[in-house]
């Protein structure tokens, strides 16, 4: 198969950080890969999926991160070199098995990739998953380049097998989505050998007596892994002087570029920490000896700063340690400019010019915004419109994670609260106990991820909630990855489709209806009926994601909508449906034929719209 990720030893390719992780895993001989897609990690599994016909490994999209973690851990227990990939919040979902598998250890080896998102480019929080390295007891690698994504991915997998301890490769958005040159190493002729499973309940069944002993085993293993960190090629010190910098993760790139702009690193000692847990305390202590002042560069929480303070205190080292000093803070991302400023302060130099963070020009005032929006032809818009027609502000809307979170935007305004994947059903259930009626929206992939347990609970505890499952047949937000609800033809031979309605009924829901997403009449009727009912009601709204239908199912419509009458009805439709294909200027209202997908929802909302086929409007 012709894919640059399979190119031979010595090839040099420009790769995304995420693509480089894939190459590293292939070089290590990975046997099993599981995941739940989530930005900024999604290109890793996307590429494993594309390369799956190479038959080098077994790959699967899992229903959620906990399942992905458990499948990968099971595979690693049975002797396979395993890899599991998720975004940072996914590791919360997977934390339960994680915090015990570090006790048992996994003979085949397991690497966990967590893609963090400082700055919340596409996430609901900016949690720092280096905390999990400390919490669970995971050797942690933090790449700062595409080359390191490859090299550390490989090294972390091989260390996982050698030590039998699960390891963590922690990337951030900037690293996952940078492109840089990567020099390839050799691909093994065959994947890693399977380590035969040796039954040992005294190790692998953590009843309390076993768990207590395994906790001690974990501590001992981490101490020997600390020795690995002391000699790791990813941990390097250089330079001389009384002022020092310790940097980890993407901050190492910012440090390099800031020093480049300042004309070099004379008079500075620099420690680059690539394998960042367990801390190589001896090397770090040696580094700090003789330093008067030390700058710690780490995005997110001051974890390294605190550990170094403790170490310096323990050894009575008279070094002043600076970490989160302005403009460096725990919020958002660092930058070359911010690091440059911190370096100038460290050197005791006044900033030569104005602040390096200052732009040469201020932002232009009041430019019209371009927020993300539901696409033209998105069936979610149709469902939200109908819900708002029937319920208005008389209910609270529980939203969930997916494109449909964008329903929060006016005029649809169908998102009042949200925590995490699957929370619409369970948080909605709890809310409705005290807060009045709730309509919950959840997508198909999110329903399979963690909506099903909330639904079972809602039936069990006789909650009062209307659940709308927006089934667009794909995992749209992250780039159309498969999920258990996808049609069988698209899934192919390797997977079996699950029918959402059967699952819902199987959970004991008595009131279930299915409608097409573009059918306003049916949507309005079902919503009206269900508004008058109580208990758990489920409406399944089916319509393929319009982007997915066009790109992958190769479906398109030859008809388009147009505004046939320039009247109040058309104006009201423009205001309340707010399709991005609509336009309005001083002369007229209309539908942009380049953007219109022919869903014809507007025709059902207002009699002033009409269909046309090709030709002039």
């Amino acid at each position: 198969m012709n894919n640059p990720l399979l190119d031979p030893d010595g090839a040099r390719r420009l790769l995304l950080g995420n693509e480089a992780v894939v190459r590293g895993a292939l070089e290590a001989g990975v046997n099993f890969v599981s995941c739940y897609p989530g930005t900024p990690s999604s290109e890793i599994p996307d590429n494993f999926r594309m390369l799956a016909p190479s038959l080098r490994y077994v790959f699967e999209y899992s229903a959620n991160e906990k399942v992905a973690m458990e499948c990968a851990a099971g595979a690693a227990l049975s002797g396979a070199l395993s890899l599991v990939i998720m975004k940072h919040v996914g590791l919360n979902v997977a934390a339960d098995p994680l915090l015990t598998m570090t006790y048992t250890g996994l003979p085949g080896g397991l690497l966990i990739v967590s893609a963090d998102d400082p700055g919340c480019h596409s996430s609901q929080n900016e949690q720092d998953n280096r905390n999990y390295a400390r919490f669970a007891g995971l050797p942690c690698f933090e790449p700062a380049s595409a080359q390191e994504c490859k090299d550390m991915g490989k090294a972390a997998l091989l260390l996982a097998r050698e030590s039998q301890q699960p390891t963590l490769l922690r990337t951030t958005t900037r690293i996952a989505h940078l492109r840089g040159p990567v020099l390839f190493g050799p691909l093994p002729e065959t994947p890693a050998p399977i380590v035969p499973f040796a039954r040992n309940p005294g190790r692998f069944v953590p009843v309390p007596a076993v768990a207590r002993a395994r906790h001690r085993a974990l501590a001992a293993n981490l101490e020997s892994l600390r020795a690995t960190a002391e000699t790791s090629p990813f941990n390097r010190a250089r330079g001389a002087g009384e002022k020092g910098v310790i940097a980890s993760g993407v901050s190492r790139a910012y440090l390099h570029d800031a020093l480049m702009s300042l004309g070099g690193e004379d008079g500075l000692r620099i420690f680059e920490l690539g394998m960042s847990w367990p801390l190589p305390e001896k090397s770090l202590a040696d580094f700090m000896r003789g330093l008067k002042i030390l700058l710690v560069l780490e995005e997110g929480e001051p974890l390294l700063e605190q550990a170094l303070n403790a170490l310096a205190h323990k050894l009575s080292l008279p070094v002043e340690i600076r970490g989160k000093v302005p403009p460096l803070e725990i919020f958002g991302e660092y930058s070359t400019g911010a690091v440059r400023q911190a370096l100038l302060d460290l050197r005791g130099e006044k900033t030569q010019t104005a602040s390096p963070l200052a732009a040469s020009a201020p932002a232009h005032p009041a430019l019209p915004g371009r927020p993300p929006n539901l696409c033209a032809g998105c069936a979610h818009r149709s469902a939200f419109y109908a819900a708002r027609e029937i319920f208005g502000d008389g209910v609270c809307y529980a939203s969930d994670i997916g494109c449909y979170t964008l329903g929060l935007l006016p005029p649809l305004k169908t998102a009042d609260f949200l925590f995490c994947m699957g929370s619409s059903i369970s948080a909605g259930s709890g809310f409705a106990r005290f807060g009045g009626p709730v309509v919950a929206f959840i997508g198909d992939s999110t329903f399979f991820h963690s909506g099903m347990t909330g639904l079972a609970n809602a039936i069990f505890n006789r909650h009062n909630i209307l659940i709308v499952i927006l089934d667009n047949g794909t995992t749209a937000m992250t780039g159309h990855q498969p999920n258990p609800g996808m049609d069988q033809e698209t899934l192919g031979g390797g997977c079996t489709r699950l029918d959402i309605e059967s699952v819902v009924k199987g959970c004991g829901v008595k009131r279930v209806a299915r409608v097409r997403g573009y059918n306003q009449k049916a949507l309005l009727e079902r919503f009206s009926e269900m508004k008058e009912e109580s208990g758990v009601r489920v409406l399944i709204v089916e319509e393929p994601c319009v982007l997915y239908a066009r790109r992958f199912l190769k479906k398109s419509r030859d008809s388009r909508a147009r505004v046939a009458r320039q009247d109040a009805s058309a104006a009201a439709c423009l205001e309340t449906l707010a399709c991005p294909a609509f336009f309005r200027n001083e002369d007229e209202m209309g539908v942009n034929p380049d953007l219109c997908t022919g869903c014809m929802v507007c025709l059902q909302v207002s009699p002033s719209f009409a269909a046309w086929k090709g030709g002039a409007i």
């Binding site: 930005t39 390099h256 930058s335 040469s360 020009a361 539901l374």
Partner: protein
């Protein structure tokens, strides 16, 4: 080490600016030059702003901060102006002169700045500003999807890159799908021609290649 050059690219989801970014970065690498490139596209597929970067000359961070961009490649006129704070003093700006109206403007609630205002705003900071009708030229090249190559061809013709248009032509042939090569080669040429014509018009030679 070649001269440092930080290129900031901005456009709207669906325009294909990330494909253009990857093509440019691969071209730089194929020239044996140091390169790092980045992209931020959280929810961009849903019509939001897409920002990306290509940095030559030994940078390791893919990010470009405020006041740091030596070149701005704008795939949409309004987004070019929005990127103004990223420009370093004396930067080069190459931008589409065409608009993709954001929802507020389409609906008549907001008003987009006039092209003249955009030119003036960017011109106040940049040493040189070019505006090209990239979609019109893309259509002329045979496919509106090749509009991005118009901008890349124009970039090469300005001489700010340490290589000429031949390198980009080689990349189009090497990295783009066979069916779109012809239109993109033509689009590169149209971009180059547009810059040459503009340079002649202002009776000014294009800046020298590095």
């Amino acid at each position: 080490m070649s001269a440092a050059l930080r290129i900031f690219l901005t456009g709207v989801g669906g325009q294909g600016s990330l494909t253009a970014t990857a093509l440019l970065a691969r071209t730089v690498m194929d020239q044996g030059l140091e390169v790092v490139s980045g992209e931020i596209h959280g929810m961009a597929q849903r019509g939001g702003v897409v920002e990306s970067t290509v940095l030559l000359g030994g940078f390791r961070s893919p990010a470009i901060g405020r006041g740091e961009a030596d070149v701005l490649l704008g795939f949409e006129a309004l987004e070019s102006l929005r990127a103004l704070p990223y420009l370093a003093p004396g930067a080069f700006v190459l931008s589409s002169s065409e608009f993709i109206p954001p929802p507020g403007v389409s609906m008549g609630r907001d008003k987009a700045p006039e092209l003249e205002d955009i030119k003036k705003g960017l011109g106040a900071v940049a040493a040189k500003v070019w505006f090209l009708p990239i979609n019109a030229l893309g259509r002329k090249a045979g496919a509106v999807q090749s509009a991005n190559s118009v901008l890349l061809g124009a970039l090469c013709a300005t001489g700010v890159l340490p290589f000429g248009p031949e390198a980009l032509r080689a990349s189009v042939k090497k990295y783009l799908p066979a069916k779109s090569v012809e239109a993109n080669l033509r689009a590169l040429e149209l971009g180059e021609e547009a810059i040459r014509a503009a340079a002649e018009k202002s009776a000014e030679r294009p800046p020298k290649t590095h």
